[in-house]
């Protein structure tokens, strides 16, 4: 009986390591979306403040666009933010979805850090996000001219992710008619 007590630590370790081993093979930032190839679920969200533009599904057609889900309480969004500002400066069309956030907090956040979004919708209850299968922030959907989701990025867009994955895809989508 006493032996078992001394064996417990290594048994636990085996379990933990097995978990890590499996966990490692899943890249936490790649999550296939049910939506790939399908149109975005319809939503129409109010703006963060009266002087800004709100966001509806109909705004996301015509040109390829990045739909970036963020929140003022999200730490990783702050890490992603400079990259988005750079993309905006390069002329990339980005729409923002402020998820589970008070409109004033979201507006304050954009005011303090800079606003990379052409339009921003406030999803205070998180309902629109749930329809899209958002699991956390930040998350980004690449939407094509016809409003269909073509790619989903879970976690921040880093310069590497942009250069290696999203930029080529955006170029391809722009070339599509």
């Amino acid at each position: 009986m006493r032996r078992i007590l001394f064996l417990a630590p290594i048994l636990l370790l085996v379990l933990v390591l097995a978990g890590f081993g499996v966990g490692l093979r899943r890249d936490p930032s790649i999550l296939p979306s049910q939506l790939i190839g399908k149109p975005l679920p319809a939503f129409s969200l109010p703006p963060l403040s009266p002087d800004r533009a709100g966001l509806a599904t109909t705004d996301l057609a015509g040109e390829p666009v990045l739909l970036n889900v963020f929140a003022s309480w999200c730490v990783a969004c702050r890490v992603e933010h400079p990259t988005l500002m750079r993309l905006k400066a390069e002329g990339v069309n980005i729409a923002g979805l402020d998820w589970k956030d008070e409109p004033a907090d979201g507006a304050g956040w954009l005011g303090q850090n800079g606003d990379p979004y052409a339009r921003t919708g406030n999803d205070r209850t998180g309902r629109a996000g749930i329809d899209m299968g958002v699991s956390g922030v930040p998350e980004t959907f690449v939407v094509d001219r016809r409003g269909r989701v073509r790619y989903r990025q879970v976690g921040p867009i880093t310069p590497e992710v942009w250069a290696e994955t999203i930029a080529p895809l955006m170029a391809k989508l722009r070339a599509e008619s």
Partner: protein, 654 residues
């Protein structure tokens, strides 16, 4: 040329570490003094070669040798010299090199100063250290070589992440690594004891200072990290329960438990196999922390360089070291005889309780940190665990532990009576009660949590002060002499426990009473905030050495007088950082962070953080207490041991 010298030194160090891993273990097994001496020489040589490699890399940074890929990726000529040096460990490869350097220095120290140890024990400790060193040197050489060349060499390098260009970075990672890696010595001692199958007084006397030597920099490093995040990240927070912060907190919790259980082992010869298990687990959690930061298994703000392939390698190292150690533990530990018995109410009993709570706290943090990984595997869901989880699990466990901290040092060894202990703490209890009452009268019932926190802080500080005072009171007939002869360890204990009290004070203040607001300010405008009047005087652009900044100047009139604060929003080549304007007083900080321009003014976010500086004061005081304790002659490394007969010998075969 330098890079090649460094590369060559690293390869030599790897080969030597293989020798160090094998020869002394064989020597100790055969009782061959020549082989054991070879182990000591190997440890010293390994330290020299790793140091050479590290200096070569640092020199490449100083000389701006952009033909070295790592240098080109993390520095440029405009970067100030201190940050070019700090960039040496600002990258993954460089920080792993620092890791190995510290490991090799500790190994060299055991070889150099371990002369009073039993020779076979020293040889086994060095052998285990050599094994760990070989694994990590192999990791560096095969997956993350810092000395790769670029051809053609670029004329100018890119940039170190601007968040890392701060005095905090110069000392924060080395301190943390001193702590993490320091626990490798305790680990090596534990494994050596398991191989030998015996734990004696000399073993216990040796382990405690090493644990302390790791615990001090870890405590200081975590405190510094929290302080750095507070003023550099511009989020106005001091602890975020981020996976990487948790990675440093878990070894700290277990290391603190180990520090206390080693004390029991040293004084009373009890908790033998428990202490060994703690030593193994503490270092394992340090390794898991490294894994977490380097593998990208969890998304974190801190993960500056992640790569799943490296994660697999580190996972292999964890499996090899911890797995082997725990297997050895399962095999050999049952044969270690348990030490002296003690009553539940006694100092040993108190420390056992402290250990249990600390281990459960560490488990709570572990579960919170890694449950996203496991839940995803089991259910396929992605979840994230945030501060609410810790508020519900960590705090309810930590608060009773804090309340019990005062009682432990008041209890006698072996056996004691609860009523006697309570009588000894009546003065601290009265002081805490008075503080509670004053806070209650001032704050009322609505701030009950804050009131309780203030009472707890007063209880901890008064209880800590009571430790030396009680001693002096007992010897009051010869007061001068009894103060002079108080061992430093007593002061260390009192300082560390008082630090915990100050930490409680700070956490309480900032949790209960912090305020914040976001607003758009025009130059000349002034607002009232948290009992102060804040006026924005001017906003202008200024040029720094490698950045441009929008600088805002504030005039603040507060209850403690008027002062000027300057906040900056800095634009570096690749990203932006916020230099918050912070006014620090013992009663509370005013924290202003400047955002982007909007409608001719700037967006300003203000926080009032009452009592927050006591969090870091407390943390540093704890580390200082450890330092004072380490200076105690009785603990000093290498003090000739007039060892009594071994208190513990292997139990006879059952």
């Amino acid at each position: 040329m330098l890079a090649e010298v460094g590369q060559f030194a690293l390869i030599l160090a790897f080969v030597i570490s293989l020798v160090q891993a094998a020869v002394p273990l064989v020597g100790a097994h055969r009782g061959d003094p020549v082989l054991m001496a070879l182990g000591r020489a190997a440890a010293l040589l390994q330290a020299w070669f790793v140091a050479t490699a590290f200096v070569c890399l640092a020199a490449s940074y100083v000389a701006c040798d952009f033909s070295v890929a790592l240098v080109a990726q993390h520095s440029n000529t405009a970067q100030p010299l201190p940050y070019r040096i700090a960039a040496t460990w600002g990258s993954h490869e460089g920080s792993m090199l620092l890791w190995v350097l510290i490991l090799a220095i500790y190994g060299g120290a055991v070889a150099r100063f371990g002369g009073t140890l039993r020779e076979s024990l020293q040889a086994r400790v060095l052998g285990v250290q050599g094994l760990i060193g070989a694994m990590f040197l192999g990791f560096i050489l095969f997956t993350s070589n810092p000395f790769l060349r670029l051809s053609p060499a670029p004329l100018e390098g890119t940039e170190l992440n601007p968040l890392l260009q701060d005095p905090g970075l110069v000392s924060h990672p080395p301190l943390l690594y001193l702590g993490y890696v320091g626990f490798s010595v305790a680990f090596a001692f534990a494994v050596a004891a398991l191989i030998e199958g015996r734990v004696d007084a000399a073993w216990a006397r040796w382990v405690r200072p090493w644990v302390l030597a790791a615990w001090i920099p870890l405590t200081a490093g975590i405190t510094l990290g929290s302080l750095w995040a507070y003023y550099e990240l511009g989020w106005g927070g001091w602890w975020f329960w981020d996976p990487v912060e948790n990675a440093s907190l878990m070894p700290w919790l277990l290391g603190t438990a180990l520090l206390h259980s080693a004390l029991v082992l040293e004084r009373r010869g009890a908790l033998v196999s428990w202490t060994i298990l703690l030593a193994i687990l503490t270092f394992s959690l340090s390794l898991i922390g490294t894994f977490l930061v380097r593998s990208g298994i969890l998304t974190s703000v801190h993960s500056f360089a992640v790569d799943p392939e490296r994660g697999v390698y580190i996972l292999g190292i964890i499996a090899a070291t911890t797995g082997a150690a725990l297997a050895l533990y399962a095999w050999r530990a049952p044969a270690l005889r348990t030490g002296a018995l003690f009553a539940p109410v006694s100092r040993e009993g108190g420390i056992t309780l402290n250990n249990l709570v600390l281990v459960v706290l560490a488990a709570t943090v572990f579960f919170g940190t890694f449950s996203p990984v496991f839940i995803e595997i089991l259910r396929g869901d992605k979840i994230s665990v945030g501060p609410p989880y810790y508020a519900r699990t960590f705090a309810p466990l930590a608060v009773p532990l804090l309340a019990l901290v005062v009682l432990g040092p008041m209890a006698n060894w072996k056996r004691d009576r609860l009523d006697a202990i309570v009588r000894r703490v009546r003065i601290p209890a009265a002081i805490a009660g008075a503080a509670l009452l004053i806070a209650l009268l001032a704050g009322g019932w609505r701030t009950l949590v804050a009131v309780a926190g203030l009472g707890l802080a007063a209880w901890l500080v008064a209880g800590a002060v009571a430790i030396p005072v009680r001693r002096w009171w007992a010897g009051r007939a010869y007061l001068g002499r009894s103060i002079r002869t108080t061992p430093p360890a007593i002061f260390g204990l009192a300082l560390a426990h008082a630090g915990l009290g100050l930490l409680t004070l700070g956490v309480t203040g900032v949790t209960a009473w912090h305020q914040d607001t976001v607003l758009n300010m025009q130059p000349g405008q002034s607002v009232a905030f948290a009992g102060r009047t804040v006026a924005l005087q001017s906003v202008e652009m200024v040029q720094g050495p490698n950045y441009q900044a929008r600088q805002a100047r504030f005039e603040v009139k507060g209850p403690t007088g008027s002062y000027t604060l300057i906040g900056e929003r800095r634009a570096y080549a690749s990203s932006q950082t916020t230099e918050a304007a912070i006014h620090v007083t013992p009663l509370g900080n005013l924290y202003i962070s400047v955002g982007d321009e909007a409608d001719g003014g700037v967006v300003v976010r203000m926080w009032s953080h009452p009592l927050i500086m006591w969090i870091w004061t407390g943390g540093f005081l704890m580390a200082f207490g450890g330092l004072v304790s380490l200076s105690d002659r009785r603990l000093r490394l290498g003090v000739a041991a007039r060892a009594p007969a071994p208190v513990l010998v292997p139990a006879a075969a059952e």
